[in-house]
């Protein structure tokens, strides 16, 4: 029996602001899971702290709502413990690129086999409107009353230089595009980053649906070569009248779990706990 949208709904009361871009992300994640025919019991969603983090309250799969910025190490270990599972990470821009930034290039270079979905609203939502690392220079927020003086972090170039093997951006106002990108990210073998332009209708009055609608251009309609790192890097830097969305870069590389001999015989979680210790103990005799 095939899965329906309702099957993936926990029934929890949704507390996102009406119009928030998170709704579209949640909906398209569900669609992607359904279209890919995934069994919810074989999917784990790990979320950080922020408005985005509530995803795990609303998405009916295995879930771990961790602490602020720590989606990646938890998700990495879940994948290593049971590499049969499909692992999805949901983070905010603050979660991913401020407090959790220390984990990001490491998950990327390790090529952890998971999809990392960043709800990028260029602002702190849950803590009511402070600047985020992806806030653009000049953005007025509660903590930047004269406009942010700091240039923003670019999630895409960070992903590319970090070593992510699937780098994409999509827009919460383009549901179909989002579903397609998410499906590819989820099935990609390796670390797949999806930076989702997610309007925060309450605190970010600059980067709105309208703002993006006027600017987004689909890479796939412009003959972009996903295998060309330099082209990807060049396009990833564009942010102005044109904001490219789509899959910037894809690469095949061994994943993190491929490097551990203990996983060769199947998921770690399935292996018996007791083992013969005589060889190990003999070293000390």
């Amino acid at each position: 029996m095939s899965l329906t949208m309702k099957d993936l709904d926990t029934g929890a009361t949704n507390t996102w602001c009406p119009g928030c871009g998170n709704f579209a992300i949640l909906m398209t994640v569900k669609q992607a899971l359904i279209q890919l025919g995934l069994n919810p019991s074989q999917v784990v969603a790990v979320s950080g702290i922020g408005c985005h983090g509530k995803t795990t309250d609303y998405l009916k799969v295995n879930t771990f709502h961790v602490i602020h910025g720590r989606v990646l190490p938890a998700a990495t270990a879940i994948k290593l413990a049971n590499h049969g599972l499909t692992v999805l990470g949901f983070a905010g821009d603050g979660d991913a690129f401020n407090i959790g930034m220390g984990h990001f290039p490491h998950a990327a270079r390790r090529n952890v086999n998971m999809a990392y979905i960043v709800h990028d609203n260029l602002i702190y939502g849950l803590t009511t409107g402070q600047a985020s690392p992806t806030s653009r220079q000049g953005l007025v927020t509660k903590t930047t009353p004269r406009g942010s003086a700091e240039p923003g972090v670019n999630p895409l170039t960070q992903s590319l230089t970090g070593g992510a093997t699937f780098v994409a951006r999509t827009f919460a106002g383009e549901a179909k595009h989002m579903t397609e990108v998410l499906k590819r990210a989820i099935t990609h073998r390796g670390f797949a980053v999806v930076d989702v332009l997610q309007p925060c209708v309450t605190f970010n009055r600059v980067n709105t649906y309208e703002f993006y609608k006027q600017r987004v251009r689909k890479l796939e309609e412009e003959g972009h070569d996903e295998g060309d790192f330099e082209a990807a890097y060049r396009r990833a830097q564009e942010w102005g009248d044109v904001i490219p969305i789509g899959v910037f870069y894809v690469e095949e590389r061994p994943t993190y779990e491929d490097g551990f001999p203990a996983l060769a015989g199947g998921p770690l979680v399935g292996q018996p706990l007791s083992r013969d210790l005589s060889g190990l103990m003999a070293e000390f005799k």
């Binding site: 795990t56 270990a77 599972l85 292996q271 706990l273 103990m281």
Partner: protein, 580 residues
């Protein structure tokens, strides 16, 4: 066999030199050879945080009776550089011998006033002749030391050969080095000391606290070790990394201690036994995750190896200054277990048990150790694997209902049924937010209080489990004149001090507090008459815990906070001083 020493029961060998001269390895090899000959051994390394240069020394004590600690005295000094002679000559026992490189041309008659003999050996020349690397000087010196203490060179050769398994050329060169050193000294016997009698059979094993913890974790089925390098916990990471194939484990050097703790938690959520290890600085970074483990009820085992702080402190030395931090560190109120082994046996059995406790109660368990304990070698009987059992607590693989699976079901004992993601028909939530029984976030007043109560109801069951694990251990005289109290790495020197006090005609006992949280009941009954508390810290933190839990305040304490462990003699002296 017999081994020569200055006293009839113990020989103490100090190997001194610079970092990079293979000192710790030499000490460990000599200890292993002596263990094979039936001696009880204890070996510890004193080294500054340096890669080259600086003064390092390894002290090895071998005895026909159990030895548990270092002493400041040496019978034999292997001086791999000149500086070591100056630094250690003063603490050598009368009649001792100094093995040094002939090239160091020590002053004729140095130490003779105290009956100390110099044994110049052409360490460098021998190595050159053999065409070996400079570091092989220590192998020649070990051969020389064997001759001096009467250890059979064959055993030493065998032990060294095993470490170079399969590399025949290197083995041969090392065997020659040992033989050359041995022959050189055997030929110039100045009548060193008297005879030491060893036991009948080889001792079971020779290993550090870190080794024992690693084996305990392996025995308990731990399959995942994530850590960021930090002395004195790094050897655990090295062990797991180098035994990942043999042990079927995953070892990860993470980007930080935050990642290390979070990975251990992630792996545990996914259903495997996992562990992380660090020292105080790293534990500071882990505290937010510790609190997550508590809230999400994810089992977590952390080895916290103490070294002196605050801050970087003395990176390679020992302390017991993080006891209260281990017991109280991290935000929010939650149940945890803090257990402090005091020797390699306890490191093994309690590490193994830590996994059962963490899983049975779905809480963090902190294995609190110190540098002296985890980096020093001890001989002990081979671990009895039949004493290790695996109890994963309330696990469910399928769900019969009623209703949907409730990860945080409000069970009587506070422990809810745990399942792992991947199980058919069960979806497993874990949540850092306060949550309902089904794992969804909540802020409802009633639901919150209910969930807090649920977690706290574990307390009495945790306490009962801890009481069954001998949380207080008592050694020595049943009707003592004085009671010594301590924990962790002070156990070894305290036990040896008991023997010294007995020789002094003082009946004494040692009370070891093994579990710090929950604090065990019944300690009061030992706190009678004269009691002296010994700790490797400045503020007597166990004293604080004891006062909080029993109301008893120590009048007498012996505290050491210079990064060095106690010597048995110091403890004895302090006790005699208190007794007046």
């Amino acid at each position: 066999m017999k081994c020569k020493g200055l006293r009839d029961d113990t020989v103490s060998v100090v190997i001194g030199g610079e970092a990079g001269q293979g000192i710790s390895r030499s000490g460990e090899l000599l200890g292993k050879a002596l263990m094979r000959c039936g001696f009880h051994c204890y070996g510890t390394m004193d080294y500054p945080s340096l890669i080259r240069g600086g003064h390092n020394f390894y002290q090895l004590r071998a005895s026909s009776r159990p030895v548990y600690s270092q002493t400041p005295y040496a019978d034999v000094l292997i001086a791999l550089n000149r500086e070591s002679v100056g630094l250690h000559l003063g603490s050598m026992n009368a009649g001792g011998g100094v093995i040094h490189d002939e090239r160091d041309a020590l002053e004729e008659g140095l130490g003779r006033d105290r009956g100390i003999n110099l044994y110049p050996v052409p360490l460098t020349d021998i190595v050159k002749e053999l065409g070996g690397p400079d570091i092989m000087r220590n192998t020649v010196a070990l051969g020389a030391a064997s001759a001096l203490i009467g250890l059979d060179a064959g055993t030493l050769k065998q032990v060294v050969a095993e470490t170079f398994e399969g590399r025949e050329k290197i083995i041969k060169m090392n065997e020659d080095a040992i033989q050359r050193g041995y022959t050189y000294v055997a030929g110039q016997d100045y009548g060193f000391g008297c005879c030491l009698e060893s036991g009948e059979r080889p001792r079971g094993q020779w290993l550090t606290g870190n080794d024992a913890i690693a084996l305990g974790a392996m025995a308990a089925g731990c399959k995942f070790y994530s850590a960021y390098p930090m002395t004195p916990a790094s050897p655990l990471l090295h062990y797991f990394a180098s035994h990942d194939k043999a042990g079927g484990t995953v070892a990860i050097q993470t980007e930080s201690e935050i990642a290390a703790a979070m990975m251990a938690i992630g792996a545990s959520y996914a259903g495997i036994r996992s562990m992380t290890g660090t020292s105080g600085g790293g534990f500071s970074l882990m505290t937010e995750s510790l609190s997550l483990a508590a809230m999400s009820e994810t089992p977590l085992v952390v080895m916290l190896g103490q070294r002196p702080g605050p801050s970087t402190g003395l990176a390679t030395y020992s302390a017991q200054g993080d006891l209260l931090f281990a017991v109280y560190g991290a935000h929010g109120e939650f149940q945890r277990i803090v257990v402090a082994p005091g020797d390699v046996d306890e490191c093994f059995y309690l590490a193994a048990e830590a996994f059962n406790l963490a899983e049975r109660f779905q809480i963090p368990v902190i294995l609190l150790t110190d540098k002296t304990l985890v980096e020093s070698n001890q001989t002990t009987d081979a671990f009895d694997l039949s004493r290790v059992s695996i109890d994963r607590g309330k696990l469910v693989e399928s769900w019969e209902g009623p209703g949907e699976y409730l990860r945080y079901r409000d069970d009587e004992d506070g422990v809810s049924p745990r399942a792992f993601p991947g199980a058919e028909g069960i979806l497993v939530p874990a949540n850092s937010n306060e949550h309902l029984e089904n794992g969804l976030s909540t802020s409802s007043s009633e639901a919150v209080a209910k969930m807090v109560d649920k977690r706290f109801r574990k307390a009495q069951h945790i306490r009962a489990a801890v009481e069954g694990l001998q949380p207080i251990r008592v050694y020595g005289d049943k009707r003592p004149r004085v009671t010594l109290v301590g924990w962790g790495g002070t156990k070894g020197p305290a036990l040896e001090a008991l023997g010294m006090l007995r020789d002094d005609g003082v009946k004494a006992r040692f009370v070891q507090v093994v579990f710090m949280e929950p604090f065990p009941g019944g300690l009061e009954k030992y706190l009678k008459g004269t009691c002296v508390l010994f700790e490797d810290n400045r503020s007597a933190q166990l004293g604080t815990l004891i006062r909080l839990n029993t109301g008893y305040a120590f009048k007498h304490v012996g505290l050491r906070y210079d990064g060095r462990p106690f010597n048995p003699g110091e403890i004895r002296d302090r006790v005699l001083e208190v007794l007046g």
